[in-house]
Symmetry: C2
Subunit: 390 residues, 2 copies
Amino acid sequence: MSGTTWTLTVAQFQLEYGLTLPSTTVCYRSWGTLNHARNNVMVICHPFTGSVDVEKWWGPLIGSGKAFDPKHYFIICANVLGSPFGTTSPLSIDSSTGRRYGPNFPSTTIRDDVRLHKLVLDHLGVTSVAVVVGGSMGGMTALEWPLCFPDLVRRIIPLATCAKQSAWCIAWGEAKRQIIYTDSAFRGGYYPRERPPKQGLAAARMVGLVTYRSSDSYEQRFGRKLDDPCSHVHYHHQQKGDDNTVCNTTKAQIVVDHAEHPRFSAQSYLHYKGATFATDFDANCYIHLTHKMDTHDITRGRVSVADVDEHTALSSVLRTLPPHPLIISISSDVLCPPHEQKILADGIPEAELVIIDSMAGHDGFLVESERIDAAVVRYLRHEFPEFYDD
Amino acid sequence: MSGTTWTLTVAQFQLEYGLTLPSTTVCYRSWGTLNHARNNVMVICHPFTGSVDVEKWWGPLIGSGKAFDPKHYFIICANVLGSPFGTTSPLSIDSSTGRRYGPNFPSTTIRDDVRLHKLVLDHLGVTSVAVVVGGSMGGMTALEWPLCFPDLVRRIIPLATCAKQSAWCIAWGEAKRQIIYTDSAFRGGYYPRERPPKQGLAAARMVGLVTYRSSDSYEQRFGRKLDDPCSHVHYHHQQKGDDNTVCNTTKAQIVVDHAEHPRFSAQSYLHYKGATFATDFDANCYIHLTHKMDTHDITRGRVSVADVDEHTALSSVLRTLPPHPLIISISSDVLCPPHEQKILADGIPEAELVIIDSMAGHDGFLVESERIDAAVVRYLRHEFPEFYDD
């Protein structure tokens, strides 16, 4: 039942914006086995900073009896272009220069990811996808799958996502990029591997971390609690020596703690999470993916009449999506608020909208795993009784 | 009817956290005249990045027949400690070193501002304040006035504010500080006057600008509109020469625009506003004020029983505030959401809560001037008929 990670390399891959990537690698992970009809396929689309290791970010949903059950489905999750976790990205070597792409990695779109991942399905002999599921950026990808390949996908489950990237989210992306540009270690993206702009990436991640939750959830978790000075770490006044009681300063050295102000737990949380992220992720990849999300607009190039109004254009595209999707909202989501999923539910034929009442904010699509699991299991058993012969 | 700006210097000023500032200057502006009873006093408390120039940020509320009417009130607005607009701050000269305080400017609290501004009232012979009004950080100050001087203040009008800085806002403050620290020009706060960390300050401001509005307001204003390439400006591909048609690149050089991605109007808005702010404000002052707001907690040191629960502590302090305040909320405020003003309204005796239904977000307390003006005029005429002899 455990998954296996694979890579597939294609000789060249044409991008939506016109450029062609030579020798493109796609990393994917699969669980379970393809049935005889080759149609028990579940595609999981990962969010912004996720990877093919679904166990790491949607772990409670995967396993026997769960929403993502390899007993019933052949499950596949592929890494998107520009992500640092295995698929071709700014970290890959540009064969024309022999150096990493870095900031010269060409712009990609959600549709590029779908078309690239379709090559994986082709390689595996898949001719029909039962369901595509994804949250946040993964939800954008879930929406694009049947639009790019209309006869391939039977059902979709988009969570905490939108038909087009909103102005507010475009603004967040821009603010985060400007934060990274502020780090002089960024050097226009031409930073050496051993000296990446960790401080800027950590600060950008902190901004993300605040937007991913809600005011209520921060209040409940942290309130005005002060930090245990040794629980995370301070940049200044580091304790030194090999005494076992010293604070661990490795991660927190990326972020800076000035002066004598009281230190609140909410701050330490951001420091720790920001610094950890900056160690694991790559700044050029981060920037690339924020631009990719900005391109998300399911109506782009799909509406023939030039002067049609936005609402009509959106409706005309939504109605071409597979009927009876399960759409999941988190009530306190400020990034992709419930009314954006209501637009999806109003436009896609026979849609079911489940609003999960939670203070978890946007991250609710990851955090509220128990309620999401229950909704998805119920939905899948209803839509695909043929896969559940128990 | 136009205001006049003054300064008052006190020989020394003791701060709440123990340090004493020598020779402290407070900048204030006043409109109208003190009546014979010396009690027609209206104190306006400015928000985070505001100044005593109320005309600049609450202009539509000031004037004849308006909420802040110098015909009826002696109106005064004083600049807070640590703000770059006239009162002693990190920009001031530390007499012990002959250099600017910079990052060594001591921590101050909202209560320090109230006690310092009270010295201005003493200087002017004011013995009773009719009303204190303020939004956001100014609302924190409005709450602290009667708590610091219980017999002085008759009424308060706090807008878009809270009894204590929330964990979410603490997190925002921390993220913004980390952004500024990321700018190598910051140099731990010891930047020369001519080379301030403008890029970091602009990026921090951008984050603020996104939080000050709502997703809906960005959507309505910007949507997915692309930028007119000359309406603001690009860092790269600057046009040069003295041709009248060139773009103005001065401000936008602070922020960076990389590569060939589509440029959305929402991005240009942030670039322009961020860069303008970074030219007008000071990074050490910005950091100082975010820390000041983090200290805001009206229960601090005011509850005698150590183990009393938070809710009881808050109630016991709120009930000592002057009765019948006018409390104003903006329905879409994500920074100080309406439920925080509901806590105030539930705790302060005979409170009136007005929730303004608006998509303007936190900035609604500035933007929704017409509805705020109407509510405040009605309230003031009811509470202080003696000042309105027309």
